[in-house]
């Protein structure tokens, strides 16, 4: 039943009828798993970017590895304080809310996520995670390519929304994705002088035949038109939603509250992107990271309460990522420098909770850094194939084995 609804959603959009067994359908899309909640064309992916490079070792703490305390003489979190997950690892004590979600089976932890030849620059490594192309400089993002590739209604302005002041590179491709940091103040101010609002569209849209050429002209005109139309429509579209959870009064709390509102207002939004940080803890890491991890887990808990109250929790999958973890040994300033592999979280949406991937070894390091055990593109491939029912190969420019947290 769910599978057939999915097929209608994808194939009908292209004006083609096909059954799952036809070679055409298989080429078009690899099927989302039938056991998962919701039809594939209602499912939403929320990406939470932990900006600045989150220290994985003090997030999912390997308290069972003696070397951990040797490398972290001041920053090491005592075994007694860790929120235990198994005999080897446990959550940072600031993450009680996420631990509670984990205990309900809602959280998959993928350990040791990274990529070959890791880059220690924030910018380059962020680009690599956002484009999913480590080998070269790619101008489109992996989510942008998904949006272009998927049979989504091209006239919907809200197929994806960045709840952020700047459009992240992950969402850059052909489609315009609005960046909406908050609803308040989003839109054109009301009429200041008689008639100007009415004249606005005709004057500003005018036509694109300006008496000069510019590589940016088309982009500016298009974004202006989309922004004005989208901003005029958005409040009407989301105005009926009633938030059903008490979010923490943090930036991330506000961002996720808006994300839940957009999901609950059924705008056809498939991808949302929020950001949190900065986790760039070169100095006095503990206070900053504990606060940020606490904010993260409290905001995610409120988010899923809100989603659940509206029946949207099981069609919403949330994934965190950070551009890198940090060096294994702390530095001389009770901080940590840029490192490599780290864990990430996949939440909700019918994930099979638990630990995935192998925790990187602490006695076989890559010049002081953790060696990755799971390529981040396998996590992306899992979301693309099993959540959205798309073939990941054209989007990720390669084949990466899906993980089993969605099955």
């Amino acid at each position: 039943m769910k599978r057939s609804r999915f097929l209608l959603g994808t194939v009908a959009g292209l004006g083609v009828t096909a059954s799952l067994d036809s070679p055409f359908a298989r080429a078009l899309a690899s099927p989302a798993l039938p056991g998962l909640p919701g039809s594939a064309d209602e499912r939403v992916l929320v990406v939470v970017n932990l900006q600045g490079g989150n220290d994985g070792l003090n997030t999912v703490v390997p308290y069972g590895l003696a070397d951990y305390y040797r490398y972290r003489p001041t920053l090491g979190i005592a075994a007694g304080d860790v929120l235990t997950l198994d005999a080897q690892v446990g959550f940072n004590p600031a993450m009680r809310s996420l631990k509670a979600m984990y205990d309900k089976g809602m959280v998959a932890i993928v350990q040791g996520v990274g990529y070959p030849a890791p880059d220690h620059s924030h910018f380059r490594s962020t680009e690599i995670w956002q484009t999913a192309v480590p080998e070269r400089y790619e101008l489109t993002g992996w989510l942008g390519r998904f949006l272009d590739d998927a049979p989504l209604p091209k006239d919907n302005l809200f197929n994806a929304v960045a709840v952020a002041p700047v459009l992240p590179e992950a969402l850059v491709a052909t489609a315009d994705v609005p960046a909406i940091p908050q609803l308040r103040g989003y839109g054109l101010a009301s009429d200041r002088r008689p008639g100007e609002r009415q004249a606005f569209t005709s004057v500003v849209a005018g036509d694109a035949r300006f008496p000069f050429t510019s590589p940016y002209l088309g982009a500016v005109a298009r974004i202006e038109e989309h922004a004005e139309r989208g901003a005029a429509e958005l409040p009407k579209l989301v105005g009926g939603y009633v938030t059903a959870a008490s979010y923490p009064a943090t930036q991330l709390g506000r961002s996720l509250a808006l994300a839940a509102q957009i999901i609950g207002s059924k705008l056809g939004t498939r991808v949302l992107y929020v950001q949190h940080g900065s986790f760039d803890t070169h100095v006095s890491q503990k206070a900053t990271q504990d606060r940020l991890l606490g904010e993260l887990s409290d905001a995610l808990a409120a988010f899923y309460d809100d989603l659940a109250a509206h029946g949207n929790d099981r069609r919403t999958l949330t994934m965190t990522f950070s551009e890198f973890g940090r060096r294994v040994a702390e530095n001389g300033n009770r901080g940590t420098d840029h490192g490599e592999a780290a864990p990430l979280f996949v939440i909700g949406g019918g994930v099979k909770g638990g630990l995935y991937g192998r925790h990187p070894s602490l006695d076989d390091l890559d010049d002081g850094d953790l060696k990755y055990t799971v390529d981040f593109r396998s996590v992306y491939a899992t979301a693309l194939e099993r959540w959205f029912g798309r073939s990941s190969r054209p989007i990720l420019a390669g084949t990466f084995p899906a993980l089993s947290f969605l099955s």
Binding site: R192, S202, R209, F210, A219, E224, N333
Partner: protein, 495 residues
């Protein structure tokens, strides 16, 4: 391999002109003078544009690259609050109570200090915007903005005080068109930079790589021109630099400095930071990196390798002295080619400062600060150490709406009628003439025929709005609205 078409280089279409850096000898007019002033400044008032158009091109460029020895503008924010008393009280409290987290008196003092620092930064932001608006040396302020986005440092973060942020700003102004190698040496010992990229915490026992890495990656060479080993060796050379708490002087603390031999970019010696900068500037990549950045900021995005190679030669010929380099660039064929014309997106600061100049507003009102934040540019707070990416990154639904709303609010300002006599000069005439004046003054005629017809319709009260004819009563209101509409067109977003 990827199926979607890559959207975009925003490099202009068509071939590079011949002899791209040779002096341009074609027609010179108001349109090109306005282009020069947008790039080498912030746009300027209609009078300034007319004055530059009336000069020969070479004189116009000379007037921009030679800064007056002094001007009447305040050298520091006139109302920068003094936080030294609070800093001393905090230090005393820490000594008295120990650095107890949660000590209520200390928490209160820290809160007061944060508040004072926020006010100080706001003062500094308005001070700098006023300088940009009023300066007789627009290129000096433009280069200061360029360097601020290049050698990025965010105020308050990492203990950078407002005074240090302002001192760094003055350093950029001092070296605006100076020797880039010397500027890099000076920035490497600038207190704000030392704090922001953790070089004040870099010790021989625990080298901190932050500055060493960004110095090469973002400030001088670019990725791919050094190894991870070079970063580590450079970090050792930078160990031991400290900002003295009382004087603010920067000193090298010998016992925290690693004086041993380092192998850096193929050379070995007991290098310190000064040697590192010298070695970096010997690399061929240094001039190429700077050439790419200057072309992308002043001419157009994604400049082609041939053009970069030409400017690289110019930079090397002048041994990193920037004044002759910019002088060459601002009078070059490529700079006045159709491919460079309106080929950049105005940054929010260019957008607001240019708009103030256009309408004769000499002081930025405080509400410009939240408006700039909505457009995604906050002075003294680049988004990260890579600075503002510019170009298409300025454009998304949120930022273009913020620009349009800024223009709408500006045209509601009382200051406009006093400062911009051109807007209402001549009184209500024919709607066609009013529309032409707006299109010429605001956009040098870069308006589409449809938009022009719609503006005439709006001014004349025709079409959908049925406002009634243009008259003495409605003239000012109509002109203000029509100016707002003109500033909201795509062309006005482009530099």
């Amino acid at each position: 391999m990827l199926q979607t078409a890559a959207p975009s280089s925003f490099r202009p279409a068509g071939p590079l002109p011949d002899a791209p850096l040779e002096a341009y000898a074609g027609p010179w007019n108001v349109r090109l003078a306005a282009h020069l002033l947008r790039r080498a400044g912030f746009g300027g008032s209609p009078e300034t544009v007319a004055r530059f158009a009336a000069m020969p091109l070479h004189a116009a460029v000379d007037a921009l690259v030679a800064f007056p020895a002094s001007n009447a503008l305040p050298e520091v924010p006139p109302d920068l609050p003094d936080e030294s008393g609070l800093v001393a009280s905090i230090a005393e409290r820490v000594r008295a109570a120990g650095a107890q987290r949660g000590d209520p008196e200390l928490v209160e003092l820290m809160r007061q200090r944060r508040q004072l620092e926020r006010h100080a930064i706001q003062s500094a932001q308005l001070w700098w915007l006023d300088r940009m608006i009023q300066t007789p040396a627009p290129l000096q302020e433009k280069m200061t903005l360029f360097w601020h986005g290049h050698f990025t440092t965010a105020a308050i973060e990492k203990g950078v005080t407002p005074e240090e942020a302002v001192a760094q700003n003055r350093l950029f102004r001092q070296y605006a068109l100076g020797d880039v190698r010397e500027l890099t040496q000076a920035v490497s010992r600038d207190p704000a930079m030392l704090r922001y990229l953790d070089n004040v915490r870099n010790t021989s026992a625990h080298p901190n790589e932050n500055y060493a890495r960004e110095l090469m990656e973002l400030f001088t060479l670019g990725i791919g021109n050094y190894t991870e080993q070079d970063v580590r060796e450079s970090a050792r050379a930078w160990t031991g630099l400290r900002v003295q708490p009382e004087s603010g002087d920067v000193t090298l603390v010998e016992r925290q400095h690693d004086a041993g031999a380092k192998t850096f970019l193929g050379r070995t010696g007991n290098f310190d930071g000064r040697d590192i900068v010298e070695i970096i500037f010997e690399q061929p990549a240094a001039a190429r990196f700077l050439a790419t950045k200057l072309l992308s900021f002043f001419v157009y995005s994604d400049p082609e390798p041939e053009l970069v190679a030409e400017l690289t030669k110019t930079i090397r010929r002048h041994d990193f002295a920037l004044q002759p380099v910019m002088s060459t660039l601002l009078r070059s064929n490529v700079f006045y080619s159709a491919r460079a014309y309106r080929a950049l997106v105005k940054s929010p600061v260019e957008f607001v400062v240019g708009s103030y100049q256009l309408f004769g507003i000499e002081q930025a009102p405080p509400d410009v600060l939240p408006a700039l934040a909505r457009m995604n540019q906050v002075l003294f707070y680049p988004p990260n150490v890579k600075g503002w990416p510019g170009g298409a990154a300025w454009l998304n639904s949120q930022t273009v709406l913020a620009r349009e709303n800024f223009a709408g609010a500006l045209m509601a300002s009382k200051d406009v009628s006093g400062g911009a006599s051109w807007l209402l000069a001549g009184g209500p005439g024919r709607p066609e003439d009013a529309a032409r004046k707006l299109a010429q003054t605001i956009l040098q005629g870069d308006v589409s025929n449809t938009a022009s017809a719609e503006l005439i319709g709006y001014l004349g009260g025709e079409g959908t709005s049925a406002l009634g004819e243009l008259s003495g009563e409605n003239f000012e209101e109509r002109m203000r609205a029509a100016a707002y509409l003109t500033m909201a067109t795509p062309a006005y977003q482009l530099a």
